[in-house]
C-alpha cells in the first residue's frame, strides 16, 4: 500500500479514529468547553454551507493549510458549519468562493457580513458531522476508467444476472451475502450481496461497469479502502483512505452516489459461484468409471476369416495325443514338432511355421510375432496393431495363448517337449503342475526313461540331448517371436535349412 502512503499528504493530521459522534481527538476532552459568556476568539472563522459537498471541500482546503481537521457542525436548519480556529485573512474569501457564508466573531456571537447573528455557544453545541456524511451529498460523475477490481453491492437477482452474463468474460467473481443499514437517517435495513469482480490479468471490461452503474439497488465501488467502499463515480476532494479514517474501527461503510451512506452490519464468507449449465445444455449423466473405460475401448472379437491360411499348429485333446503318436512316429517332420502340454488340451506346433497336415485337432494360425494363436478360419476384428497384441493377451514370453471361439487357453512354455516324447522319452525337463493325467503320464514316462540311477561311463550328455535342447530352445524362442535367435539355435542344432527358414521369416517381420 505504498501508494496509499504516498497519497497521504500528512498522516498525522488525519486524526479521527473513533465515531464522528465522539468528541474529535483534536479537541482533547480535558479541555473544558468555553463558557457561553466567553467572548468568541478573535481570529475564528465560522463558514456556513447549505450544501454538504461545499462544506467538505472547504474543510479539506482548510485542513491542508492548518494541518488539522476543522470541525463541521450541522445546524438544526440543515446547514453545515465549518469552524476554523486561527483563520487566515483570505479564508473567508475562500469560503465565499466555495458557496458558503463567512461568519466572524463578534463578542459572544458570530456574525455574517449581512449581519446575521448566531450564538457561538449554540453553534458549538450543534452536533458535529462525519465527513463521510458530507461526502454523501456529492453528485456522482461519469463512470471512470477501467480498473483491475470492483466491488458491487447489489440485489441477489442482479448479482445472478451479472454472474450469468460475465462469467465467461475473463473476470473472476466472488459473492458474499451482506446486510447493510442506513447511516445518518432513519434506520432502514438493506439485505444485499457483495460481489468482488476482478479481471484476471487485465482490467474489468468497461462494458461491465457501464452496464451495472445506475441499476436500482446497485452500487459499483472502486477498489480502494476495505473499510469504506466508495462509488466509483464519486470524485472526492480528499483521498479515499483519508475519508476512510472517519469510519470507526471494526466497521465497514459504503458511500454511494445516490443511495447515501450505509454501514455493513454483516458480511458473509466470500465464495465463488458454482458453474451450472442450463437445462438444454446439461451434459449426459456421468457414467461410472468402469463404464467409461468400457465405452472408450473398442471391443476386439473373433470373426470369420474368409481367407484361411494353412494351419501352423494344432490344439489337441488328451485322446488325440495317442493318435498323433501313430501319425507322427513315421513323419519326416517328427524332429521339428513340439508339444506344449497343458491341462487337458495341448498345443502341437512345428518349427519354422511349417503347416501341420494332421487330420484331427483344432487347426491354429499364428498371429503377430510371438506366442499368440487363433483358431484357423477366424481372425481378430478390428485387427489390433502388433505391439498391442502382447498387452491385450498378456503375452509374457513364457506362455502361449490360444484364442478359439468361446474359449482361450494359456500354455506354459516350460511344458514343451519334442513330439517324439510321445513314443520314446529322453531328458526333458518340465515341471508337471496343473497338467492333465495324460500329460503327466508323458512327462512321467520321459522322466522314467532318464537313466538317473546309473552313472554312465560314456559321455555325460548324449549328442541327441544336446541337439534336442538346442531345438527345444529354438522352438521356444520362435514361439516368443525371437525368430533370428531361434534361427541361430536351429543352425547350432545342425539344421541350416530350418535356420534359413527362420531367418527368412525374421526378415519378413523386419520389413
Amino acid at each position: 500500500m505504498d501508494w496509499l502512503r504516498r497519497r497521504r499528504r500528512n498522516p498525522q493530521s488525519v486524526v479521527p479514529q473513533r465515531g464522528f459522534d465522539i468528541t474529535p481527538m483534536d479537541r482533547p476532552e480535558s479541555e473544558p468547553p468555553p463558557p457561553p459568556e466567553q467572548v468568541t476568539p478573535g481570529d475564528l472563522l465560522a463558514a456556513r454551507f447549505a450544501a454538504s459537498p461545499d462544506a467538505l471541500a472547504f474543510a479539506v482546503a482548510v485542513r491542508a493549510r492548518a494541518g488539522s481537521n476543522p470541525p463541521v457542525h450541522q445546524a438544526p436548519d440543515g446547514a453545515y458549519w465549518v469552524i476554523v480556529d486561527h483563520a487566515q485573512p483570505e479564508e473567508p474569501e475562500l469560503a465565499r468562493a466555495m458557496g458558503g457564508a463567512a461568519f466572524r466573531p463578534d463578542r459572544a456571537d458570530v456574525v455574517s457580513a449581512s449581519g446575521r447573528r448566531v450564538p457561538w455557544a449554540a453553534l458549538r453545541a450543534w452536533p458535529e458531522v462525519s465527513w463521510v456524511r458530507l461526502a454523501t451529498g456529492i453528485a456522482p460523475g461519469p463512470t471512470g476508467g477501467a480498473q483491475r477490481e470492483y466491488r458491487v453491492v447489489t440485489t441477489g437477482s442482479i448479482a445472478r444476472w451479472v454472474m450469468e452474463r460475465y462469467l465467461g468474460a475473463d473476470v473472476t467473481i466472488t459473492i458474499a451475502p451482506a446486510r447493510l443499514s442506513a447511516l445518518f437517517r432513519e434506520t432502514s435495513s438493506w439485505p444485499a450481496v457483495l460481489l468482488r469482480v476482478s479481471g484476471s490479468d487485465q482490467p474489468v471490461p468497461p462494458a461491465f461497469v457501464h452496464a451495472l452503474t445506475g441499476l436500482p439497488h446497485t452500487v459499483v465501488c472502486r477498489a480502494g479502502h476495505e473499510r469504506l467502499l466508495i462509488d466509483h463515480r464519486l470524485k472526492l476532494p480528499l483521498a479515499d483512505e483519508e475519508l476512510a479514517q472517519w469510519v470507526p474501527a471494526e466497521e465497514r461503510w459504503l458511500l454511494s452516489g445516490e443511495l447515501g451512506a450505509w454501514r455493513f452490519d454483516r458480511v458473509g464468507e466470500e465464495s465463488e459461484p458454482s458453474l451450472r449449465l442450463s437445462a438444454e445444455l446439461l451434459p449426459p449423466p456421468v457414467p461410472m468409471p468402469r463404464n467409461v473405460q468400457l465405452d472408450l475401448k473398442v471391443e476386439i472379437r473373433l470373426v470369420s476369416d474368409h481367407r484361411p491360411k494353412p494351419a501352423c499348429a494344432l490344439l489337441l485333446t488328451d485322446d488325440e495325443l495317442i493318435r498323433v503318436r501313430g501319425f507322427l512316429s513315421g513323419h519326416a517332420a517328427g524332429d521339428r514338432a513340439f508339444l506344449v502340454l497343458g491341462a487337458g488340451v495341448h498345443l502341437l506346433a512345428l518349427s519354422g511355421e511349417e503347416s501341420v497336415g494332421l487330420p484331427f485337432g483344432i487347426p491354429l494360425n499364428r498371429l503377430g510375432p510371438g506366442g499368440l494363436y487363433v483358431e484357423s478360419g477366424y481372425r481378430l476384428y478390428p485387427e489390433p496393431p502388433t505391439p498391442a497384441l502382447s498387452t491385450l493377451f498378456k503375452l509374457d514370453g513364457k506362455s502361449l495363448v490360444v484364442v478359439c471361439p468361446g474359449s482361450t487357453y494359456r500354455f506354459s512354455t516350460r511344458h514343451t517337449v519334442p513330439v517324439w516324447a510321445l513314443w520314446l522319452g529322453d531328458t526333458v525337463p518340465a515341471a508337471a503342475e496343473s497338467l492333465s493325467p495324460a500329460a503327466r503320464e508323458i512327462l512321467d514316462r520321459v522322466d522314467a526313461v532318464r537313466p538317473e540311477t546309473t552313472a554312465p561311463e560314456l559321455a555325460k550328455e548324449p549328442v541327441t540331448s544336446h541337439v534336442t535342447r538346442l531345438r527345444t530352445e529354438g522352438f521356444l524362442l520362435e514361439q516368443q517371436g525371437r525368430l533370428a535367435d531361434a534361427a541361430r539355435k536351429y543352425w547350432e542344432a545342425g539344421d541350416p535349412e530350418l535356420a534359413a527358414r527362420l531367418y527368412e521369416l525374421a526378415a519378413e517381420v523386419e520389413q
Binding site: A487, A499, A500, R501, A506, A507, E510, Q511
Partner: protein
C-alpha cells in the same frame, strides 16, 4: 529396406546354401536386392530362366544372353543386346544362333565403328551373313585381314572377343585352317590363355593338338 532385414536375408541365404538349397538361397538373395548373386545361385541350381532374369536385372547383359542361348532362346538373347544398345552383339547372335542373316545384316547396317576391334568384328559378322547366304569368299578375306591386324587391336579383352568371333565364324563355314591362323596370330600377340583355347578347339575340331605350342613360351 532396413539394414537388419538385409542382414537376416543374407544369413538365410547362407544357411540355405549350407543346406544345399541354392534355389531358396537365390530367392533370399533376390529379395535382398542382390540380383547378381541370385543369378549365380539360380544358374548353379540349373534354373537358367531365373538366372537370365536376374542377370538382366543386375545389368549383366552378356551373362543373361548366355543363359538364354543355353536355353535355346537366341532371339530373346539378341533382344537383350538390342535393349542394351549393342546391335553388333545382337546381330552376331542372330546370324550364328538364330540363323537370321538378313535381320542381322539390318542391324549391322546401324553400326558405325571407329575402333579397330569393332570394325573387324562387324566385318566378320557381315561376312558370315554373306556366307549364310552362300558366298564364303568375303569371310575368308575378313578372317585373313583379322589375322593380319589382330595385333593392332586393343585392349586385350576386345582382342579376345575378335579372336573368339573369328574362330567361331571359321567353324561355321568349316574352315579350321582359317581358325588355326587366327589362333596363331593371337598366340603371336601373346594373348593370355590362347594356348588353352587353341588346344581345346583343336581337340574338338581336329581331333588332336599336334603342332600347337604347349605353353605360352617365354611370356
Amino acid at each position: 529396406m532396413t539394414e537388419g532385414r538385409l542382414h537376416l536375408l543374407d544369413r538365410a541365404a547362407l544357411c540355405y546354401e549350407q543346406a544345399g538349397l541354392p534355389l531358396k538361397a537365390a530367392r533370399c538373395r533376390e529379395r535382398a536386392g542382390e540380383p547378381a548373386a541370385a543369378a549365380r545361385l539360380y544358374r548353379a541350381a540349373g534354373d537358367l530362366t531365373q538366372a537370365a532374369r536376374c542377370y538382366e536385372r543386375a545389368g549383366d547383359t552378356a551373362q543373361a544372353a548366355q543363359c538364354l542361348l543355353s536355353l535355346g532362346r537366341p532371339e530373346e538373347a539378341a533382344n537383350l543386346w538390342l535393349a542394351a544398345r549393342n546391335p553388333l552383339e545382337a546381330a552376331w547372335i542372330l546370324v550364328v544362333d538364330a540363323r537370321r542373316p538378313r535381320r542381322a545384316r539390318d542391324l549391322l547396317a546401324e553400326v558405325n565403328p571407329t575402333r579397330l576391334g569393332v570394325v573387324l568384328r562387324r566385318r566378320i559378322a557381315l561376312a558370315l551373313c554373306a556366307a549364310a547366304e552362300g558366298s564364303v569368299q568375303p569371310l575368308v578375306d575378313a578372317l585373313v585381314e583379322t589375322e593380319r591386324r589382330l595385333a593392332d587391336v586393343s585392349p586385350t579383352s576386345e582382342r579376345a572377343r575378335v579372336e573368339r568371333w573369328a574362330v567361331q565364324a571359321a567353324d561355321e563355314v568349316g574352315r579350321p585352317d582359317l581358325a588355326a591362323q587366327v589362333f596363331a596370330a593371337s598366340y603371336r600377340c601373346g594373348q593370355r590363355g590362347v594356348v588353352e583355347r587353341w588346344r581345346a578347339w583343336a581337340v574338338s575340331a581336329l581331333g588332336g593338338t599336334a603342332g600347337i605350342p604347349d605353353a605360352e613360351e617365354g611370356r
